[in-house]
Symmetry: C2
DNA sequence: CGTTCAATCTTGACAGTGTCAAAATGCCTG
DNA sequence: CAGGCATTTTGACACTGTCAAGATTGAACG
């Protein structure tokens, strides 16, 4: 029962490392966890259900994550990695002349990511981990890195004179990210529900940000 | 059940009505619930603990709230009532000449409320109710009212020409409230932790909002 | 004044949760 | 092939929300 099922779980590709009984249980758990929260939110994720889904006993996950909190942190961390990649890709492919336009698509991509990965986004920036739980050291590092990227964006625009010179770039980065985040949250949390308005509101927001430069 | 519940809800000050066994259990539960979440967040609130605190059996609360969700909605509703009062008071006492200044204190008061009533704020605008749970009809009504007050503020400023005339007041109201809310969230959720910066960031935000008018 | 009634509260139960302790399994190294 | 140790399981405990059924009792009515 245990053995054969374990093998089924993994394709065991060509040179797939099967470190132990299950082989890659950690990643399998992560994938299943993301699936679980994607359909029903974090409140739909229980260690037991997760273990069941993967075909392993209730407490098996505890050898790969100290806690439920650590599991959630791992999901969030993955989320940051994906987001960073998407965002840098967006920047790369936007071979625009106009810096403001590039920034706009950058921002709209941020919104889109939050929308398409609601539950992950909630974990990345939400109370579950940052207030109710305890962010892992490595999660903190990754998130700091993510904010640094944003700040560099702002500094670039700042140097181009697109913001008020009297403000500190740091403050602008904080304030404008908060704005962006707030919009994500209102949609993500179901307070704003008309998703067609999303980009429109964002553009109004962007205009206020950038017009404030002149 | 429906009728008498209305009586419980009211304080009926001088002539303290003790409609039944406990008398005023509903409000007592609400108060204890707010206390519980204030010290430990919503994850520290369980119906059983709540009932224990009040000195009543586990299932007694279910005669005043259909569910835990309804209890949370009631807390949020109270929160809206308090916030509305605080905000209108702030507007009244701010007998300023400069409209922008009045608006600033208004906004700073909003932030202060969110900060001093974190857990209630989370319930008022958070996923727990609006996405994971189901907002009560009356909660929806109250929250709509609250947003209307904000929109009226924006419209007033708009008519005074403090925003870009090309934007719709509705969009501005949405975008700027999202900004404000985002800032609250980042502090409330523990993502931003340096609370001394709060008002400073808010003022940078405000300048961007208002400067965008010229 | 006593009976009835319905709102209120209690007790018991069930399925679910996170997580700890101890036992079992089985791969790798010697 | 034997030992060790990472991995997994089983059992248990204290919680959770909430349902069903019974007990209590304030008030309305005869």
């Amino acid at each position: 029962m245990t053995l054969s099922r374990l093998n089924d779980t993994l394709p065991s590709m060509t040179t797939r490392k099967k470190p132990y009984h299950h082989g890659d249980l950690r990643q399998t758990l992560l994938n299943a966890a993301v699936e679980l929260i994607s359909s029903g939110g974090v409140e739909n994720l229980s260690i037991r259900k997760l273990a069941d889904q993967v075909g392993v006993s209730r407490t098996a996950p505890y050898h790969h994550f100290q806690d439920k909190n650590e599991l959630l942190c791992a999901i969030a961390e993955q989320g940051f990695a994906r987001q960073d990649q998407i965002m840098t890709d967006a920047k790369r492919y936007a071979t625009g002349d106009n810096l403001a336009e590039i920034f706009e698509t950058y921002v709209l991509n941020y919104l889109r990511f939050a929308d398409q990965n609601r539950e992950t986004y909630d974990l990345m920036y939400g109370r579950e981990i940052w207030r109710a739980g305890k962010p892992t050291e490595s999660l903190q590092a990754v998130s700091r890195h993510s904010f640094r990227i944003w700040r560099q964006w702002i500094e670039t625009l700042f140097e181009q004179g697109m913001f008020d010179r009297n403000e500190s770039p740091r403050r602008i980065a904080q304030a404008h990210w908060a704005s962006l985040h707030g919009l994500c949250r209102l949609f993500n949390d179901g307070v704003y529900i008309n998703h067609e308005e999303r980009d429109d509101i964002a553009r109004t927001m962007l205009r206020a940000m950038l017009r404030a430069g002149g």
